[in-house]
């Protein structure tokens, strides 16, 4: 019995999710719903702070009958997708350009580490001044925040390119584009996907934040409106919708990652990022 065999077996056991785990997970969700239903009914929390779950659901059903709800949902999704797409394109292009030139990378790496922690919400006042309360204000935040996630991952990816492969490509005098396509891109792809997954989550956070604070159209704005008008049921219903979108975004990002990397030889361990 070899060490590899032993650890492989352990990993296999861990990956395997028995159906009983799914059952337990559903039970946990049911428990949460029951707790939210019963706690206000039993008087443990006041209804004007936390209405019973069924009330939230019926409020959600009411809203789902209005066009305004669906427009807001669409606005949120559109803002998220547009911002993420811009950030992804800019992050990948700039990341490969910067990462491909060693001197540039050395000079910029620390700058990027320096600029990255600047909180995106610091730009809120500026965005409002420049674009008012329109969708573009929020788009600026979304692009700014998710761009860093993508860029940093792409830089990791380009750094990870096997020096031998790099040298080979050079010695055969591949043209730049060929080199990017055949050597850099395949290595960087898993990192790009990690950047996509992290960026997707961050983009959603900032999209909702922008709507909530700036008031650009979307579900976040409706939450703010519900809050100021004291429509607690509606507010909770919208928060649940936003949470479900978040779950969907995470699942979608992970599924895309798996699908794109299905063929990829690297069995990269989940990056702790």
């Amino acid at each position: 019995m070899t060490a590899a065999g032993a650890s492989g077996r352990g990993a296999g056991r861990r990956r395997h999710r028995p159906s009983s785990a799914w059952g337990l997970g559903l039970l946990g969700l049911a428990g949460l719903m029951a707790a939210v239903e019963l706690a206000p009914r039993a008087g443990l929390v006041q209804r004007r702070y936390l209405p019973p779950f069924s009330t939230m659901v019926s409020s959600l059903a009411d809203q789902a009958g209005t066009g305004a709800f669906w427009r807001a949902l669409l606005d949120t999704l559109r803002g998220w997708a547009t911002g993420l797409a811009i950030a992804l394109a800019a992050g990948v292009v700039l990341g490969i350009a910067i990462g491909g030139v060693p001197l540039l990378r050395a000079a910029l790496a620390s700058t990027i580490e320096f600029l990255r922690p600047i909180p995106s919400v610091a730009l809120i006042p500026l965005a409002v001044l420049l674009y008012g309360t329109g969708a573009r204000s929020t788009l600026l935040l979304v692009v700014y925040a998710s761009f860093w996630q993508v860029l940093v991952q792409v830089l990791y990816g380009v750094r990870d390119v096997d020096p031998v492969a790099r040298e080979t490509a050079r010695s055969y005098r591949f043209r730049t584009l060929t080199r990017v396509r055949t050597v850099i891109w395949p290595t960087a792809l898993p990192y790009v996907m990690t950047g996509f997954r992290l960026g997707a989550a961050v983009a959603l956070i900032l999209e909702i934040t922008g709507e909530l604070v700036i008031g650009s159209p979307g579900l976040g704005e409706r939450i703010a409106v519900a809050q100021t008008s004291g429509a607690v049921d509606a507010m909770y219903a919208l928060v649940i919708v936003v949470g479900l979108i978040g779950v969907a975004v995470n699942l979608l990002a992970r599924a895309t990652e798996r699908r794109v990397l299905r063929w990829h030889p690297s069995v990269r361990r989940e990056a702790v990022a």
């Binding site: 320096f114 922690p117 909180p119 610091a122 809120i124 006042p125 979108i245």
Partner: protein, 260 residues
């Protein structure tokens, strides 16, 4: 590292930021654009804006609330995370629930928590805790789950007591993932610090910046943006300092694996 090497590194480190600041300075030098005042004017306003009373009135309370909420979230997240990660049934039961809570964009917690806790300091700390706790919690669960079986067997063979097993095996073993979660939590914490103040507050950096923006005090607003950036950068540097100290062994281990 030689002095020359150090100098070279410092030059590389500072070259681009210096260029960026210089570009900003030159591009806005004679600016009459209302929204883009000259950088010289912004920097000139910095001292007046922040260091005559506002530092103790706004900046310190903001940062204090952030740190209080963040540290509380760390303690709760690590405590619950190690418990959930150690018990397989509990983990299976709670995983979907936790995934849902993590997926809720933290800023929407602000209006909810305002219902419960009003608009005081308690609410703001609570907002920061409830946003920061998820990445810490979920990463801790992941870290505890991935603990090496052989190491666990070793601890049992040598009859390690529960307390030292927790300290020497569980916490240390999960620390790389805990650190990854704590890093995510820090950036979320800063966002929430600002948001909770923009929503409803009488003091704090976020509150002040919005006041400037609404009053069209543009250079002052810019100083606020720069200050927030500085706070983010300083906290991130502090975090890296603590992290690299606590995870020295991990960096070394990874390095030796890569060579081997």
């Amino acid at each position: 590292m030689s002095a020359l090497g150090l100098l070279r590194r410092a030059a590389l480190l500072l070259a681009v930021p210096a260029l960026l600041v210089a570009a900003w300075w030159l591009l806005t030098a004679g600016s009459t654009d209302f929204f883009w005042p000259p950088l010289s004017q912004i920097l000139g306003a910095f001292d007046d804006t922040w260091f005559h009373g506002r530092f103790t009135r706004d900046v310190l309370p903001s940062v204090g609330r952030l740190l209080a909420g963040y540290l509380l979230a760390l303690v709760i997240g690590v405590g619950l995370g190690t418990a959930i990660g150690s018990v397989r049934t509990l983990r299976a039961l709670l995983e979907p629930v936790l995934e849902f809570f993590r997926a809720i964009p933290p800023p929407v917690l602000v209006p909810i928590l305002m219902l419960f806790a009003g608009i005081g300091t308690g609410m703001k700390i609570l907002v920061i805790v409830s946003g920061c706790v998820w990445p810490v919690l979920l990463n801790t669960v992941e870290g505890v789950r991935a603990l090496d079986e052989v190491l666990g067997d070793t601890a049992r063979c040598y009859r390690m007591r529960p307390h030292s097993r927790y300290v020497h095996l569980v916490l240390r073993g999960a620390s790389p993932q805990i650190a990854a979660g704590a890093r995510q939590a820090l950036s979320i914490g800063i966002i929430l610090m600002v948001i909770s103040e923009m929503f409803a507050a009488g003091d704090g950096v976020g509150f002040t910046i919005v006041q400037f923006q609404r009053g069209f005090a543009i250079p002052q607003m810019w100083t606020g943006i720069i200050l927030l950036g500085l706070i983010g950068v300083v906290l991130s540097l502090l975090f890296q300092l603590v992290e690299s100290w606590a995870l020295r062994w991990y960096t070394g281990l990874r390095g030796s694996e890569r060579e081997g």
